[in-house]
Amino acid sequence: MSADLFTAPDYFQVDDLLSDEHKLVRDSCRAWVKKEVTPIIEEYAQKAEFPAHLVKGLADLGAFGPTIPQKYGGGGMDYISYGLMMQELERGDSGVRSTASVQGSLVMFPIHEFGTEEQKMKFLPKLASGEILGCFGLTEPDHGSDPAGLTSNIVDKGNHYLLNGAKMWITNANLADVSVVWAKDENGDIRGLLVEKGMEGFTAPEMHGKWSLRASATGELVFDNVKIPKENLFPDIKGLKGPLSCLNSARYGIAWGAVGAAMDCYDSSLRYAKERIQFGKPIASFQLIQKKLAEMITEITKAQLLAWRLGTLKNEGKATPQQVSMAKRNNVEIAVDIARQARQIHGAMGITDEYSIMRHMANLESVMTYEGTHDVHLLITGMDITGINAFS
């Protein structure tokens, strides 16, 4: 892959809406991505291997749990900072951002939100420092968009719970030291529990054959009569709102992350279009190329402003899950479209690993599906504005 010349577009001076600290957060993450991610990411994506050596660097940077209080090893930062970090990480690769999202929003967030003080002290500092990795098990082979139907279950055996079932499509499943698992109790209520690596009857095989998020590990969690100590259950949270609140936090990060991937595709396209000569002039001189570039920057600008506004609402505690759905859906969609247009602008070069385009494009297909599919988020907006549930 060629040198990382990325410069971020800022057509509407969104920078003026950020504090100096926000800009320092963003610029530091950008510098880290240029130094650590860009030089190696194409190779790992080609090999379909997770660059495990980045975990320590991500932790040192502070990418794990930036919004978790410092007492537990988190960053204690606001949601704009968190969003900007996700933007920059995904500018590098959606898989690298996924690891940060899972560790922060899907593992540290529920432990912090629903865990006992002992659970927090036991896991959060180590998760923040990257000493251990976590994963989040909600999706099952037969229950994706409809998690309420999940069948993994726990039975109270007096001094422990017995867990049975299976999870699928779980990011970092095979690498995780601790898994946040959602299963039903005997009353049919969804409960959250912490399953630790090495527990008897618990296996986590890696899944292979992905054309997307190739530099991110995905696996299964299989529970065959796993004895879970009682202190590993989240004591009070019951029902879907547990896992959904985690997803809400991760989706928020995706709304920003997708902008990063889109910016990278646009920036590369703009540079390529000015340098690539056909018919005696730079291809940027042709109206059809300009149309693509102009539409890209327009959509990026709109997506940036949507993410920024959502961040300010989140800082004020006012962002609704429905607003998060709209931002996730819109920003991922524009990123996918921009990646496809960028692919065309780069001509044949666009399909190679000399450029980040095809990798982003393939990654974004997963991003469109995970954390609530594109259509499910549309139905959430539909339900919100009409008051009518069109899911079932």
Partner: protein, 245 residues
């Protein structure tokens, strides 16, 4: 161990340079400002030494309030305290006089400056500060070690290398090679919020240099390619067009 690092604000190296007011003013519109890269190397080296030996690192800047984000960045990288001398940094003598005045009060074991700033490349501030303070000045240091009592430095000299040892107090101007810059971590950025930044007023000092006008280097002309086996045409072009032979 008390160490002072002089840090300056310079345009990011990718900045497109333009001028206003009939080429007498640098156009600062939408310029990205950064800590002078050599100052950042110096700061990072001082932090590494502090991590081994302990101590306090103070950064000092002569500048108006708009330099404070850069001082906070220095905090995020690892500086402990900051002093901003509230004045437009007009010329090297003015800046050095301010720094020397406040550095005398600080009782620092040693002081680092960058060898030069990447904008005006004056390469004078460090030397003038040392002169005013009456302490040794070591210019252009790419390798620096300190054991708590004595500093050992290497300098590149014509045809070789010079190894120097100096006892505090002294001032060294730092250049590339001394260490790799560090990327601020989120924890560093958060801790920067509460580190003390003191603003002090400038002392009287002369300013001797006025910039009369700026000029950009002539833009590179278009390249003409001549086939490798066509020496005749090349000679002809050099003679008739470039008029150099």
């Amino acid at each position: 161990m008390n160490v002072l690092i002089c840090i300056a604000k310079v345009p990011d190296t990718t900045t497109k340079i333009t001028f206003t007011e009939n080429n007498t003013q640098f156009n600062t519109e939408r310029v990205q400002w950064v800590i002078n890269p050599l100052d950042e190397f110096a700061l990072t080296r001082a932090i590494e030494i502090k991590e081994a030996l302990g101590g306090t690192i103070t950064v000092m800047n002569v500048g108006l309030a708009d330099t404070e984000p850069l001082i906070r960045k220095a905090f995020a990288i690892g500086a402990d305290e900051g002093i901003r001398i509230n004045a437009e940094p007009t010329d090297c003598y003015f800046v050095a006089t301010q720094i020397a005045h406040y550095a005398k009060e600080g009782n620092y074991d040693y002081i680092f400056a960058g060898r030069e700033t990447t904008d005006y490349e004056g390469a004078q501030v460090g030397g003038i500060v040392a002169e005013i303070m009456g302490i040794p000045f070591i210019a252009g240091v790419p390798k620096f070690d300190y054991d708590g009592t004595t500093a050992t430095m290497e300098r590149e000299i014509e045809g070789g290398k010079e190894v120097i040892s100096v006892n505090p107090p002294f001032l060294a101007s730092i250049q590339e090679g001394v260490t790799e810059p560090r990327i601020p971590s989120m924890r560093g950025i958060m801790s920067a919020r509460t580190k003390p930044l003191t603003v002090v007023e400038p002392v009287d000092a002369g300013s001797f240099v006025k910039i009369k006008s700026y000029e950009l280097p002539p833009s590179k002309g278009e390249c003409k390619y001549v086939e490798a086996d066509n020496a005749e045409e090349l000679i002809n072009l050099l003679h008739t067009e470039a008029k150099v032979i």
